[in-house]
Symmetry: C2
Subunit: 95 residues, 2 copies
């Protein structure tokens, strides 16, 4: 585990609040952080961004640019499958 | 069922391709359509938008503005819960 500031948080299977905390820690050092997820985690990425925006409203952070995309993955049977992705920017409000 | 052009498609529990077809039908009549979903259907909304953008690339339609939000719902035990939402614009490419 590095303590270096990372500008991207990948959403996986941990409890939601673990990603909220990680994102807030990065936002203490960086003006913006990207929350990324793919497939079934996409809804959870939106949850994390919304929790941060809602709990810090007025004071703190807001949603920036949102991008969606898709990635090709090779599955174990050798076939190629497409999986959707999302990337949500959370940024410090202008003072 | 109305045959009137609707500019919003709500994603629910039907097979993905049903929403792809509905969206394409609306896009035949309208310059842009919004794909909306909440909670667990958010990932499926991204899938629908990506299938349309990918299958019609160069020729046809592309992803426009994406918005996320949250809605308060009262659950059966009387408590208020927040559910995340997404709205993805799919629009006809400029000629």
């Amino acid at each position: 585990m590095s303590t270096e500031a990372r500008d991207t948080i990948f959403i996986g299977k941990k409890p939601l609040m673990a990603y909220v905390t990680s994102t807030l820690i990065q936002l203490a050092n960086l003006p913006s952080v990207n929350i990324k997820a793919r497939g079934l985690s996409i809804g959870r990425a939106v949850d994390v961004a919304q929790i941060i925006a809602r709990k810090t409203e007025n004071a703190g952070y807001s949603i920036g640019e949102i991008k969606i995309g898709s990635e090709s993955l090779e599955s174990q049977d050798g076939r190629t499958r497409n999986v959707s992705t999302i990337e949500i920017e959370v940024k410090r409000n202008q003072a």
